[in-house]
């Protein structure tokens, strides 16, 4: 005997605007436009205004810049993992390479900060791509582990051969002229990266990336060279990381082997998981949550990391799909009970 509630089920319906905007239908009214653009504008405006709001608490402005750096890594990771199918645990490699290139260009060759950052982004992306090239045929965990090894190796090499300042690192980089430039460079880069990637994955090229992730054999059968696409993906992700690394180096006016540290690999992934993989914006939200939590917990002293880990776990367990996926669904869909 079916129980009373058994004759009902929860129905989920896309909101009208959503359906119309997914098709080619015109979206007319302001309300509908606002519905579609609202979240995006909120994110953009929020990030742009945030530094001003945080003016009374300069330390939190600093935290914001760090958030941006982690976000950069995180969207790179998300893109690579969920659109290209390469799970890279080597975020630290990108940060380190970016930081060192910026540091060398700045201290040895005397290039100004405005030149070193873009150069480090592009060159760094290139260097990382070349390094990872032989590993591109690897799949799944195998790629993940090899990419995890690279930053460890880089740090050890610098240490063993005592190059690039050895364990002391490179000191005496130019700092940003002021904290505003520091913050806005990062925020604007982050927003640009975010929306450019969004656009990319929705284009036809983006579909090829997703095809590579889903089923590379079929992509081959369609006459497309998967290695090139994988390399391109790695280049994009690592450039983002290198950009972050270069900025980090200039913010602290120093580059050193600890920029290859494991944290740079793990935290962006955690942020992606918390925020929701495959959404690109999710990782940013994840960083916006995780990094401040970690800062707030500083007062716990040694216990901090343990508490942090517990909070992280709670997020993963209770919203396993990720906040962004959950939020987007709630935003775009109605749910209600219907009789069967």
């Amino acid at each position: 005997m079916p129980k009373a509630h058994e004759s009902r089920r929860k129905e989920r319906l896309d909101r009208g605007v959503k359906v119309r905007s997914d098709g080619v239908y015109a979206v007319a009214s302001w309300r509908e436009m606002a519905f579609l653009l609202g979240p995006r504008l909120l994110l953009i405006a929020g990030l742009l205004i945030m530094p001003l709001l945080l003016m009374p608490v300069p330390y939190w402005q600093k935290v914001l810049t760090i958030i941006c750096i982690y976000s950069m890594l995180a969207i790179g990771f998300d893109f690579l993992a969920h659109y290209v199918g390469l799970v890279s645990l080597g975020g630290a490699l990108y940060i380190g390479v970016g930081a060192y290139i910026a540091a060398i260009l700045n201290t040895e060759m005397g290039l100004p900060l405005w030149a070193t950052i873009p150069l480090a982004t592009v060159l760094g992306g290139g260097v990382c791509t070349v390094l990872l090239w032989p590993c591109l045929p690897l799949r799944g965990v195998y790629f993940a582990i090899v990419s995890l090894m690279f930053p460890l190796l880089a740090a050890r090499l610098i240490e063993a051969f005592d190059i690039f300042g050895g364990t002391d690192g490179i000191m005496g980089l130019d700092g940003f002229p002021n904290r505003w430039s520091e913050m806005y460079v990062l925020i604007i880069c982050l927003l640009l990266a975010l929306f450019a990637l969004r656009q990319l994955v929705n284009e036809d090229v983006g579909l090829v990336f997703r095809g590579v992730k889903d089923n590379d054999q079929s992509v081959k059968a369609s006459g497309i060279d998967i290695t090139r696409y994988k390399a391109l993906g790695v280049f994009i992700a690592s450039s983002l990381g290198c950009l972050g690394g270069a900025c980090l180096a200039h913010i602290y006016m120093w580059a050193g082997i600890s920029q290859f540290a494991l944290d740079f690999s793990i935290i962006p992934i955690a942020a992606t998981v918390v925020g929701g993989g495959g959404t690109l914006a999710g990782p940013v939200i994840g960083c916006l949550i995780l990094v401040p939590i970690s800062e707030l917990l500083r007062d716990f002293g040694t216990l901090r990391i343990a508490v942090y880990a517990l909070i992280l776990m709670a997020f993963i367990v209770f919203k396993s799909e990720g906040l962004m996926s959950y939020g987007a669904r709630k935003y775009n869909q109605f749910e209600h009970w219907v009789e069967i």
């Binding site: 590993c135 690897l138 965990v141 090899v146 995890l148 050890r156 955690a270 517990l310 993963i316």
Partner: protein, 288 residues
């Protein structure tokens, strides 16, 4: 000669460290990044039982093993079960658990290098002119024994086979009456048990420090992957590759290249054999 002997010992050590991780991953595709934490936890529990409660060593060992197995099982039952199959979330969640355990221990007082366990056997012998202490010989012997046991378990027992099935295709396993959740709990408990066994054999040689957790994790992951997922022969061979790579560099290149060479060995092996020494995953995935 000493290179040979200490190479073998080093390799056995690595194999022991990796065993639990390999078991869990090979058998239920669950990357247990809390492996290192469980290792340290086992040592610490044993130390507490021994020094705070004053239990006899054997009893302390038995209790510690049991407790850690329970912790491992509970970890799956309470947390990981909710994200089963989402591998990135699994990595992060288990890493977070490990972090919570390790940093919790650190906060709880596990700091500095004063926590040690007594060796099972004191003294040493000379083998071909090289003196080796009994505990290290024990590492090799117990390591071999444990590997043998686990190999038998995985390949020739009903439970082991069921675990293997579940790892490869959970839905297919379900249709055959294999209860995947229960199996995963079992494999986590077993994996934690082997982590604990490894800890209790190896820790008398060192001291119980939080950092060992991270070290053991990295080594375990490396051995497991280089060997090829789920392959026991591969894991053993990989321990030897990495173990000897380390000892040989120490002997001929200088020890500060040890880690460099080990990592290079890992990367190179994988570039040459993309699914590890004995893995077939790549070929299988690319079979059309």
């Amino acid at each position: 000669m000493d290179i040979l002997i200490y190479g073998v010992i080093n390799s056995a050590t690595l194999a022991l460290m990796a065993l639990g991780f390999t078991l869990v991953y090979g058998v239920s595709r669950l990357p247990n990044f809390a492996h290192g934490a469980l290792y340290v936890l086992a040592g610490y529990i044993c130390w507490l039982l021994l020094n705070r409660l004053g239990l006899p060593y054997i009893l302390a060992i038995a209790l510690a093993l049991g407790l850690v197995a329970v912790v491992g099982g509970a970890m799956y039952q309470l947390i990981l079960v909710r994200i089963r199959g989402m591998s990135i979330s699994e990595i992060i969640a288990s890493y977070a658990i490990g972090l919570a355990i390790l940093e919790g221990l650190r906060w709880g007082g596990l700091k500095g290098g004063t926590f040690t366990l007594p060796a099972f056997l004191e003294g040493s012998v000379d083998i071909a002119g090289v003196s080796v202490d009994f505990q290290r010989i024990l590492v090799v012997v117990l390591g071999a024994l444990l590997v043998g046991l686990l190999y038998f378990f995985v390949n020739h027992t009903r439970l082991g086979l069921a675990l293997k099935g579940m790892a490869q295709d959970e839905r297919a396993a379900l249709t055959l009456g294999i209860d995947s959740d229960r199996m995963a709990v079992a494999s986590m408990a077993l994996g934690s048990l082997s982590a604990a066994i490894a800890a209790l054999i190896l820790l008398p040689l060192g001291s119980i420090v939080v950092e060992a957790g991270y070290h053991v994790l990295i080594m375990a992951v490396a051995v497991c992957i280089v060997g090829g997922l789920g392959s026991w022969t591969g894991a053993i061979l990989a321990s030897f590759v990495i173990g000897f790579a380390q000892i040989l560099t120490t002997a001929y290149l200088g020890a500060h290249f040890q880690v460099v060479v080990a990592i290079l060995a890992i990367i190179l092996t994988l570039i040459l054999r993309p699914s590890g020494l004995f893995g077939k995953q790549k070929e299988l995935e690319e079979r059309v």
